[in-house]
């Protein structure tokens, strides 16, 4: 059994007017040492999905149905006290814009120490400091900067310290939500290389959430493309980037500017390779139908089905034959 299994996870927000579905029947699993990237535009539900795994949804958000199994535990029905022991110790999260969340009047080292000692009350201060030193070595910040204040760090250093804090309790799974979005390209590249190297070295499972497909491509083994709350295409990254099938994935890729111009989709034909139906699923029509250049009568009248292009590459689209 995989480290993390997400089955049919549906997350909704209650608003005054309606109950809005933010993530709709999401399925995936993740093994130790593997990484999956969730790509999509803002509002597609990718952050909600990450938050739900740690049960950190805002008060009007709730899991409507589905299961999340982590290392054999059913996370969604775990008592709060046990869930607290999972958070940070087993599953850590790098929140969006976390580098701006350092307490400005507390030294960074003290803030990391606090995290370590909260989750491991038995550790002595000297041991904890030693641990911070090791973490700093890992993220390549000189040890004499540990007890600096946040404003004395550059943006990249603050972000690396956040990564150090995420690693503080040696988690099995890290959820990174847009960990490099506010950084410039050179620093971004350094941070991504760091995340990748640490993930490999420590055999951590990684969920990497980003709107930037280029970034995800560099870090993750597997890619899930999310659109309006649904995963619409999932596969190994070579498959998704080289033979993107869902028209939304193709649109996303072809609006990506690379150093050589606009991203070129290698397989230029219409997105309809032969594939086999995987599972009958939804009742609603495809969410992309109003924008899709390939939408047919069938798309407007019948819900899309999951289709298998290869055993590892799936797409939620009626176009495939």
């Amino acid at each position: 059994m995989a480290l993390l299994e997400v089955e049919n996870l549906t997350i909704a927000y209650k608003t005054r007017r309606e109950t809005a579905i933010a993530a709709d029947r999401v399925n995936f699993s993740l093994e130790r040492g593997r990484s999956v990237g969730i790509v999509g535009e803002s509002g597609c539900g990718k952050t909600t999905l990450g938050m739900a795994l740690l049960r950190l949804l805002p008060s009007n958000g709730f899991v409507k149905k589905g299961r999340v199994t982590f290392d054999g535990m059913d996370l969604l029905s775990l008592p709060d006290t046990r869930m607290q022991r999972v958070r940070w110790k087993r599953i850590a999260m790098i929140f969006q814009a976390a580098m701006n969340a350092w307490n400005p009047v507390q030294r960074i080292g003290d803030q990391i120490l606090e995290a370590i000692r909260t989750h491991d009350p038995k550790i002595t201060k000297a041991e904890a400091v030693k641990q911070v030193e090791q973490l700093y070595e890992l993220v390549e910040i000189p040890a004499d900067r540990i007890f600096d204040f946040p404003h004395q760090y550059s943006g990249g250093m603050k972000q690396r310290a956040i990564i150090a804090m995420a690693l503080a309790c040696s988690p099995d799974l890290i959820i990174a939500d847009e960990p490099t979005t506010a950084l410039d390209v050179i620093v971004q590249d350094q941070i991504l290389q760091k995340i990748k190297a640490i993930q490999k070295e420590k055999n951590i499972a990684l969920i990497f959430i980003s709107h930037d497909i280029g970034v995800v491509a560099g870090v993750c083994h597997e890619i899930m493309v999310m659109y309006r709350g649904k995963i619409v295409e999932a596969g190994r990254r070579e498959e998704v980037f080289e033979v993107p099938v869902h028209p939304y994935t193709r649109a996303l890729l072809s609006s990506y500017l690379t150093i050589d111009g606009v991203f070129e989709i290698r397989d230029k034909q219409s997105p309809a390779p032969p594939c086999t139906p995987a599972e009958p699923l939804s009742k609603e029509l495809c969410g992309y139908v109003h924008l899709c250049p390939h939408a047919s009568e069938a798309c407007r009248s019948r819900p899309p089905q999951w289709r298998e292009i290869t055993p590892t590459h799936k797409v939620l689209c009626s176009l495939c034959r």
Binding site: E41, S42, G43, S154, G155, A182, L183, D184, V185, I186, V187, Q188, D189, Q190, H211, D212, I213, G214, V215, A217, G218, R237, E238, F241, A251, L252, S255, Y256, L257, T258, I259, G261, V262, F263
Partner: protein, 273 residues
């Protein structure tokens, strides 16, 4: 590229800008920081010029100096042939009409208490367009041109009702409403998604074509600069390390720093995996 050998839009010669850290109660030392260290550039009429650099390179400072939001310490900036350092009163106001800024973050640059109409019409009031009918018309044109149409639907909206991309379009409309000749776009998409960024870049390219505006595009993203710009200059620690036609700079980088920037770009090659 314009083929007219006319006067350049902007000519910068050997400008410097130093910030001195005042010795205050909390400061450990008083140090001077040179943000711009002898930059010379020439931006031709009608072109899109890219200024590329990492954070802290001085690219935003250079933009602020060109807008005369800050004064240079040495050198000269000429706008349409005229030195801007002595501008005052009516001449300065006229300069302010001709040169506009598209700010970085549309989540912060728009006043949350002002409707989109008020936001876009405010520059018109400042620059003396008295007739409210004329203001409505110009604001509508600017919003339409920025892709917020029908404009009348957006007039009563407030920033929080718009998406990030729509907000940036409103900021662009505000910058364009006075028909400026030179617009500085300072990382206009750094807060936006890749797909939305792409549509904003296309909008900027369109505005250059339809309104003939000269654009200084400040970015850290070489891929975006290549897409949008005729020429680019790479700035590092307050100095221009390289400049030239976009394609040339990217295909044949002449400086180590440009090469580092290029290598840091996300790539889709999976060879070494």
């Amino acid at each position: 590229m314009p083929d007219t050998p006319a006067e350049p839009m902007v000519q910068i010669q050997g400008i410097k800008k130093t910030y001195s850290e005042d010795r205050s109660l909390f400061a450990r030392s008083a140090q001077a920081l040179t943000a711009i260290d002898g930059v010379s550039l020439c931006i031709e009429k009608g072109e899109v010029f890219g200024l590329v650099g990492a954070s802290g390179s001085g690219k935003t400072t250079l933009g602020r100096l060109l807008l005369k939001l800050e004064e240079i310490d040495a050198g000269q900036i000429r706008f349409q042939g005229k030195d801007i350092s002595g501008l005052k009163g009516a001449a300065l106001k006229d300069f302010r009409r001709r040169v506009q800024l598209i700010p970085q973050d549309p989540y912060q640059s728009l006043n949350p208490y002002m409707s989109i109409f008020d936001t876009v019409a405010e520059p018109l009031i400042i620059h003396g367009i008295r007739s409210s009918e004329a203001r409505r018309q110009k604001a509508a044109q600017a919003l339409d041109a920025a892709g917020l149409s029908p404009a009348a639907d957006f007039f009563p909206s407030y920033p929080h009702q718009l998406s990030g991309g729509q907000r940036q379009r409103a900021a662009i409309a505000r910058a364009m409403v006075l028909s400026p000749e030179f617009v500085i776009a300072d990382e206009p998409t750094s807060m936006l998604d890749a797909t939305i960024s792409f549509t904003i870049f296309k909008l900027l390219a369109d505005l250059r074509k339809t309104q003939g505006v000269t654009l200084l595009f400040i970015t850290h993203d070489l891929a975006a600069a290549r897409f949008l710009c005729d020429r680019i200059a790479v700035i590092y620690k307050g100095q221009i390390v390289e400049s030239g036609l976009s394609e040339q700079v990217i295909n044949n980088p002449g400086s180590d720093y440009t090469r580092a920037l290029i290598n840091a770009q996300p790539r889709f090659s999976f060879v070494n995996q």
